[in-house]
Symmetry: none
Subunit: 401 residues, 2 copies
């Protein structure tokens, strides 16, 4: 696979613009009743028209057979090797709420939870307390120093928060305190190997103190921690591609991912329409746009075939808002498939469409998984999409004499 | 990717013969007026017939999105990794005119150029002086010794020559003296890093002396140097594949590339017909033939769609000269695409056709980019073509028990 040093040598800063529309969980599977997938069920006139103009194919986010999480799926789309570039959940959550992580910081995802008088978890989300309550409780926990390690606590939304440990020699090889189910006590955090023993001790001290402080705040009388991670040192998209990239995403995690690869993050609203409007407003100032659509994945995760179809149609209706900007390159793809019939992410290859002046069109006329099998891109790795986007934007110099 | 040590262990010397017809810049893009590419416009009855008999596909010379130069494009076709095997332009030019490079030699491409009385470049090609003049001027520059480094100067054609530095500890991390444009003075050659400072000094001394010598030979009163390089140490095709390969090419660079991988180079004439005649004459003595067609690439580079179509038809007319020899394996492909509408090399995947007794034909009946999308080879790396050629020639033993 082509690496970043290679791309860095041949990438060119030019005025041409690339829009990457990422429809989260794009690919699906046939509804057994109709034999048609979500894409084949939806009425998608604008995406069909793009298929006819562009070159299509299927992309494997990680490798055939591997079901990716959102992290690996997006890293691949941004041109990073999703196997060697690992990003922990704690880091994702932290960067998603604008926390500036320093190199040795360890971040973790936290849940406020409910335990009974025997210490058994009865609700892993503390009845989904309000975000206001979350903000208040985080203030009580924030600012401790344990064995010279600073502990910062940041609210996210509802029962979710981020905890950040800042100090020397902190390690991330830690087990989770979240038992992932009710009816049992929270787990002690343990070091995997000997290196992280000191860190495990500090985390456990923090949990003990938090429990004491929260005792009077039932139902949020306990915390559960998971996803201990440090910020990875990735070459940024501006460095590698010489792009000035902008991320437009409603959900924090996707903004966080974009920040980790050096994208600026746009302020946007809470609806799909807001995101497309944000694209338009910021179009002059950037040359790469990552536009993230979340609803398709959520519907797929909920096993709601009809809702996924509806959101696909809603996205299709917004496609003209992109094409009206006349980007030099328009990519439409997803970070992974989320077939409603599976109710979760899956390993299936994801449709990918590239529309550009010199894309070299194929015979595909329909935006669907099966139609794209015959596409001119064939079956590629998602990690190669960025290189193709750059090539189609005429932003890559010839390699070698 | 399969490496050479792997192939070496399973390759077999057999009497079967492989012809690899490389149509330089083969792939194209649709003419916006007709919607048809060069291949789709040309009348190619013989290539169409081969498509019907053979197995087809699309090949990426380097990786999807990467536009290759001729060097990487050909290395990939010969089965070498075009990213790890780098060949500098100076070396290519040198081996193309039969210079035997020794291991530490540094070769560079030279141009005779014109500078005005202020030393500003007014013509980077000295009015394209005749090859005879080039030969004469090279004699004046040839044979210096600078700080115990021998400097040899060889004419190529018109304004082009090769300069070879032979001595101890010469390095290639040097900037070019060619400013790549007129209206400025030639650049001083500088070391990139500290290792090459001594070499930079020698090169600059040579340029200064050359300028003194050439002062009276206006318009060829200056030289411009670029592409400083040493010969790479590649395992040869006879070693890896146990083949006795022959290269047939009109242009020096392609003969040079073939020599670097251990091919013999045939004497041939100046026309396409000459090359096909050379194939016939040498057919008994070799078992692998690299037959290079240059005109398609030149026409593409010139943005001349109609000429590219015409040359494709001319090549098609010569295909029976190959099939009459009944090679066991016939490969038809290109080193990269050169769409006339782009007027240069491009990143698009290149058609590849394998015709052999056991190739496993597909349903493709037309020799074109879009028809080949549905080919049985799918989308492969150009580096894999040689292995497929060997397999189809029954020259690879089973791997593993």
């Amino acid at each position: 696979m082509i690496n970043h040093d290679f791309i860095k040598e041949i990438s060119l800063a030019t005025p041409s613009k690339i829009v990457m529309l990422v429809i989260d969980g794009l690919g699906g599977l046939p509804d057994p009743k109709t034999g048609r997938s979500e894409l084949e069920t939806a009425r998608l006139p604008h995406l069909d028209a793009l298929s006819e103009k562009g070159v299509c194919g299927l992309a494997d986010p990680v490798a055939p057979g591997i079901t990716p999480g959102s992290g690996p799926g997006h890293l691949a789309l941004f041109g990073y090797d999703p196997v060697s570039c690992k990003i922990g959940r704690g880091v994702l959550e932290a960067v998603g709420i604008d926390i500036e992580l320093e190199a040795g910081d360890v971040a973790a995802r936290g849940n406020f939870a409910t335990v009974d008088d025997k210490g058994i978890v009865t609700d892993r989300r503390a009845g989904r307390i309000s975000t206001e309550k979350c903000i208040e409780l985080c203030k009580h926990l924030d600012g401790m120093t344990i064995d010279r390690v600073q502990v910062k606590v940041y609210p996210v939304r509802e029962h979710r928060f981020v905890v950040l440990f800042r100090g020397d020699n902190l390690q991330t090889e830690l087990t989770e305190s979240d038992p992932s189910r009710t009816g049992v006590a929270p787990l002690e955090v343990k070091a995997v190997g000997t290196m992280a023993r000191g860190t495990a001790d500090i985390v456990n001290q923090f949990i003990t103190k938090a429990k004491e402080i929260l005792a009077k705040y039932h139902p949020a009388n306990m915390i559960l921690l998971r996803g201990f991670a440090k910020k990875p040192q990735l070459p940024t998209m501006p460095e590698v591609y010489k792009l000035k990239p902008l991320a437009i995403a409603i959900y924090p995690m996707y903004r966080g991912l974009a920040r980790l690869v050096g994208m600026e993050v746009a302020r946007t609203g809470k609806t799909l329409e807001d995101e497309f409007e944000t694209l338009k407003e910021n179009y002059a100032e950037h040359d790469f746009f990552f536009l993230h659509v979340k609803g398709t994945d959520s519907a797929g995760e909920d096993g709601d075939f009809a809702r996924k179809v509806k959101i696909l149609e809603q996205v299709d209706g917004l496609v003209p808002a992109i094409t009206a900007l006349e980007p030099d390159v328009l990519i439409v793809t997803g970070d992974h498939a989320t077939p409603a019939v599976l109710g979760g992410h899956s390993w299936h290859a994801v449709p990918v469409l590239i529309c550009a002046r010199y894309c070299g069109p194929d015979a595909v006329k329909t935006f669907s998984e099966t139609a794209f099998i015959a596409g001119g891109l064939g079956r590629i790795a998602s990690q190669q999409i960025m290189t193709l986007a750059m090539a189609n934007a005429l932003k890559l110099a010839k390699y070698g004499a």
